[in-house]
């Protein structure tokens, strides 16, 4: 089944998410211009459509996300809070992306990695990628499709 997912879909999902929980709306940016990601969070979608949704961001932005979601100063965050917050961020992005794509399918629990996670390009291709600027930092959302399913970018 053909999947249609546009960059605007990702920007709309991110806009709702940031406005609802993070206190300020991000501005659209250009993918690939930021520094290498220091934190990478992902969820997998499996079923009628197979792929991975990845949110990559700087360590500072990850901490800002933790502070904003928990409404705590960075110094008051407990171990695990930042990973929990970033995991919830990608869970919400992934759930909303899943709702746009053909179903039925299931969403995995989030995985948060420190460093730049690489998706093997031999078995996957990017179907949509959006970049955001938030609090002066670069955030990227990338949706990879397994090459066994069809995908269409914007």
């Amino acid at each position: 089944m053909t999947a249609t997912l546009a960059v605007d879909d990702l920007l709309a999902i991110a806009g709702d998410l940031w406005t609802s929980y993070l206190g300020s709306e991000p501005t659209p940016s250009v993918p690939g211009v930021g520094k290498p990601a220091q934190v990478t969070a992902s969820v997998s979608i499996a079923g009628e459509w197979d792929g991975v949704v990845v949110v990559s961001l700087s360590a500072k932005t990850a901490q800002d996300v933790g502070s904003a979601l928990l409404q705590l100063d960075a110094a008051d965050l407990e171990p695990g809070d930042v990973d929990d917050a970033v995991g919830e961020l990608v869970n919400i992005v992934g759930g909303n992306v899943k709702s746009v794509l053909p179903g039925p399918s299931s969403l995995s629990l989030p995985v948060v990695a420190h460093g730049t996670a690489h998706v093997a390009s031999r078995g996957a291709e990017i179907v949509a990628q959006a970049a955001l600027e938030w609090l002066g930092e670069h955030v990227e959302i990338t949706v990879w499709s397994s090459t066994s399913t069809e995908g269409a970018s914007s």
Binding site: Y21, G66, L69, I92, K98, L109
Partner: protein, 120 residues
């Protein structure tokens, strides 16, 4: 009234707690569960009036929790708070006996609309 919040994310349990307050539902007794299995146990021990459950959790998912509660004879009021709000998910939730499904990201207004018939 007593509300059980089931979510494997501490961050999301806090956001749900905050949103309940912002929606005007202060003063209720709140209990937390860290996954579906914990929630099943706490429905028995805490006897909440309402369960607000995530869908995607380790050990027991939210829909497995709801199905197991109904199979055990529990008629506790149950609603989902989940990142997945597709028509298929909403139908599956309703078929299992959920009163509502609130999709993340949510607003206090969405909470008010869904919870008022249950809590007032």
């Amino acid at each position: 009234m007593k509300i059980l919040i089931a979510d494997d994310s501490k961050v999301m349990r806090q956001i749900v707690t905050r949103t309940l307050r912002q929606a005007g539902f202060s003063g209720h007794d709140l209990v937390e569960a860290v996954d579906g299995a914990d929630a099943f146990s706490k429905v028995q021990s805490e006897e909440p009036d309402l369960v607000l459950s995530d869908w995607n959790m380790p050990n027991m998912t939210g829909i497995e929790l709801l199905d197991r509660l109904r199979a055990s004879g529990s008629t506790v009021n149950f609603g989902f708070v989940t990142s997945e709000g597709s028509p298929e998910m909403r139908e599956r939730a309703a078929n299992s006996g959920a009163l509502f499904l609130i999709a993340k990201p949510f607003t206090p207004e969405a909470f008010r609309e869904a919870l008022e018939p249950v809590l007032d």
